[in-house]
């Protein structure tokens, strides 16, 4: 009897944890999708008809076991790159990805030379 209760409890807990995991993934995906009807809002924030349909489709695809990338690729093939907030790296936007690092390195070099110069001046 006790063993049965433990098994039921285990399954309930397992199902609960699993559904929570799916929900977290879904919200993360919705937040990265742009609502095309109400631009400026993500699918997660929007209550539009379009957003609710996208949510249904994404939910289906997550249940089918598709990865986030596969879902994004599918939606990009249907609506273009515009549907996702986080763009993928390509020749048109490589600067967007690498410019912050370049600036960081460049800034670091400037600071390094300024410090070295001031030390050199002090020594003299």
């Amino acid at each position: 009897m006790i063993l049965r209760k433990i098994i039921i409890l285990y399954f309930l807990l397992f199902t609960c944890l699993q559904s929570k995991e799916v929900k977290i993934d879904l919200i993360e995906i919705y937040k990265n999708l742009r609502c095309l009807v109400c631009q400026g809002q993500s699918v997660a924030d929007s209550n539009s008809d379009f957003a609710s349909t996208i949510k249904l489709v994404v939910e289906d695809q997550v249940k089918e076991g598709k990865t986030k990338e596969e879902i994004y690729d599918f939606l990009i093939s249907k609506y273009g790159e515009w549907i996702v907030y986080q763009p993928s790296l390509n020749k048109n936007n490589f600067l967007l990805w690498f410019l912050p690092y370049l600036i960081l390195v460049f800034g670091g070099l400037i600071i390094f030379f300024i410090i070295r110069k001031s030390k050199h001046n002090k020594a003299n």
Binding site: L36, V37, Q39, D49, F50, T53, I54, L56, V57, D60, L75, S77, K78, Y79, G80, E81, W82, L95
Partner: protein, 173 residues
Amino acid sequence: MKNKFSKIIIFGFVISFLSIFWLGLKKDNSYNTKDLIGGKITNFQLRSIYNSDLITEENLKKNQFTLINFFASWCAPCRLEHKYLVKLVNQKKNIKILGINFKDKKNNAKTFLNELGDPYYFVAEDTDGKASILFGIYGIPESILIDKELTVIKKIIGPIDQEKLEEIFRLIK
């Protein structure tokens, strides 16, 4: 000399940043479908609103051109465009229209077609709207013109009017 070099570097950076911001401001940030032209319509299976018949992409390959039209009886602009769809099938024999009834009740759709005429060679149902995502639709009315290789030639957002009808005529000539 060193000072001049630093000034040139700083000036170069300022100009580069201003150019990036200027290009960003000039860029059109509204959704458009120009990147979708040339793509393929694949992997769909839809059921008729009249019976259990199914339509797939294989059926569309038999048509020289197909216009996939999303409509609903509750959509006012769909009523406005409907006469142009009737005109299209009456004037051109090389095109067939696949109607996809979007988030609608079957009986209302049937009444709509009885009242305004039925230009569709197949009317499919999309009760929950999920099929619309397969076609990259985000509002209705919306139409997609494809050829027999199922390549998207034109995507029309909003109702078809005389001007858009003439454009379709030109494209399927």
